[in-house]
């Protein structure tokens, strides 16, 4: 097992590369998911608020 | 429209921009002094040894020229944009790219050509010989118009954008790299006793290509920014 992680002495370089790649790809997905959710919530609030005011005006 | 009409419009634009620039000489001088100061910093920052300076001289002068051109790009369209004359230009029957070419030529005459004329002085300060200085001037003469032409696209795109001055350098500097490479490459090659004609031909080719294509891109950028 530790043989696998040491990678013949090059473990640092290999894991730094694979680790950074994994980190960036996962963080990118998280950022996209979270900001999508935030935008949806913000827009939904805006649309609801507008719908309410236009409703009131009709009454 | 006759060809004469096109030429008249082009010349009118050139003369107008030159007149405006002459009224604001301080702006022009500022970027020239910037050029001189940046070059003068290198002996202080790197080493006063002439042998060292001679090696980096072409690169230093060229990079300073890129930065000095960059500083003056903001002026190319911003005043016309603010006082509304740019919108009038968009409405003219003459092709916008032709008018752009006139403006770019004015910009080069005011901010590019002085750099070419000043470069021998800076070349001497950095220990270049007469041949190398002549060649440096020639590369700047071929290269600085390309800088103005490409820079015009960036200036058009960032028109009226907040932080446009810094942004334009971000957009345009990567596109300047080929000119930088062949401009300094020619002088380096001649210092190393190698053939430099290929470099000059390529710089000339860049100039022709830029003359033919960038005014169209700049005109498109202006339409996007003004509409």
């Amino acid at each position: 097992m530790s043989d696998f992680f040491s990678m013949g002495g090059h473990g640092f370089y290999i894991w730094a590369s694979y680790g950074m790649t994994a980190l960036f790809m996962i963080v990118e997905v998280l950022v996209v998911v979270l900001s999508n959710r935030a935008v949806r919530q913000r827009l939904t609030r805006m649309v609801r608020a507008e719908a309410r005011t236009s409703h009131r005006q009709k009454d | 429209m006759t060809e004469d009409g096109l030429f008249v419009a082009w010349r009118a634009m050139l003369v107008r921009d030159l007149t405006l620039a002459m009224r604001r000489r301080a702006d022009v001088l500022t970027s020239l002094f910037f050029f001189i100061i940046v070059v003068s910093l290198f002996p202080l920052g790197v080493s006063p040894e002439m042998a060292v300076l001679r090696g980096i001289a072409p690169g230093v002068i060229w990079v300073a020229a890129l930065l000095a051109t960059m500083l003056s790009l903001g002026r190319m369209f911003s005043d016309d944009h603010q006082d509304g004359s740019l919108e009038q230009m968009l409405l003219l029957p003459q092709p916008l790219s032709l008018l752009v070419l006139g403006k770019v030529l004015a910009h080069w005459l005011v901010s590019g050509l002085p750099l070419v004329l000043l470069s021998p002085l800076l070349g001497m300060q950095l220990g270049l010989g007469a041949d190398a200085i002549g060649l440096l001037m020639l590369t700047l003469l071929l290269g600085t118009p390309v800088l103005s032409l490409i820079g015009a696209i960036g200036a058009g795109l960032t028109l009226g954008v907040r932080g446009g001055g810094v942004l334009v350098s971000l957009l345009v500097l990567p596109l300047y790299i080929p000119v930088l490479i062949f401009g300094t490459g020619a002088v380096d090659a001649s210092l190393g006793g190698m053939d430099y004609e290929g470099h000059l031909s390529l710089l000339g080719a860049f100039l022709v290509m830029a003359l033919l294509t960038t005014p169209l891109a700049t005109a498109a950028a202006l339409r996007i920014s003004v509409e």
Binding site: I14, Y18, M20, V32, S35, R40 | L171, F182, A189, I224
Partner: protein, 251 residues
């Protein structure tokens, strides 16, 4: 056949239809991406043999090369969308171009990062002014310019058009920049580095790299479609279908 295709393109160039289709496709691209990257990872660590010259460190190329491919490929696709957006005024194409840029920039950065960590054990330094690395760095600058221009302009339509034009200017300049840098590199007799491998191993390595590259590609499509859906909602928020969609949500 051409007619039917053109109808399909027309149909999905409407943001509403795109939004619905992308929503259905995204899970499938995630399945493909995770599957392919999983297989690629397994192959790069357990199937591909140790290189006789470089030892284990060469395994970095299984992510380095696909990341570098993606960085260039995404820029080309982005510029193609920008051309479609500007020439035919297809709004959806503009939105796709802006959705692609961050992922392209990320792969460019990863190509540089993994290149540096592959370079250290292979040639002894993290960075050399090699033609490929230098061009990759300039590509990163081009992506950053695109993203900064887009975020600096407040009006989204102008932002899309301006950055689209910049992408087109960039893609025309890219070959000129690349060959200039290459020439500059040979002139200065600088380091030129490329992954060397023994001929016998080449096929298994190539297969692994291809699987990884397709996996990255599927990942890109999935993330970009997700991001494009958000951009659609933001830009189309005044339209009826977005309002209905959002109002119907919390009920």
């Amino acid at each position: 056949m051409g007619f039917k295709n053109s109808i399909a393109w027309y149909y999905f160039s409407s943001p509403k239809n795109f939004y619905a289709l992308a929503g259905k496709l995204i899970p499938w691209f995630w399945v493909l991406a995770i599957g392919l990257i999983g297989v690629g990872l397994y192959m790069s660590f357990f199937v591909a043999p140790t290189d006789y010259k470089q030892g284990e460190s060469y395994r970095i190329i299984f992510i380095h090369v696909p990341a570098a491919w993606m960085s260039m490929f995404i820029y080309l696709v982005m510029a193609a969308y920008a051309i479609i957006g500007l020439a035919w005024k297809v709004r959806m194409a503009d939105m796709m171009a802006s959705a692609l840029a961050p992922t392209g920039a990320m792969f460019t950065f990863l190509a540089l990062w993994t290149g540096a960590f592959w370079g250290k054990p292979t040639w002894g330094t993290y960075w050399v002014w090699d033609a490929r690395l230098t061009s990759e760095l300039i590509l990163l600058f081009l992506y950053i310019g695109f993203i900064s221009l887009q975020s600096a302009i407040d009006d989204p339509r102008r932002a899309a058009k301006a950055s689209g034009l910049l992408a087109i200017v960039g893609v025309i300049n890219l070959p000129i920049i690349y060959f200039s840098v290459k020439w500059w590199n040979t002139l200065h007799q600088g380091a030129s580095v490329s992954p060397t491998m023994a001929p016998k191993m080449a096929s298994i390595m190539l297969t692994t790299m291809l699987i990884m590259a397709i996996g990255f590609w599927m990942y890109t499509i999935a993330v970009v479609l997700m991001r494009a859906r958000r951009i659609v909602l933001e830009r189309e928020r005044q339209t009826g279908w977005v309002r209905e969609l959002l109002l119907g949500e919390g009920k």
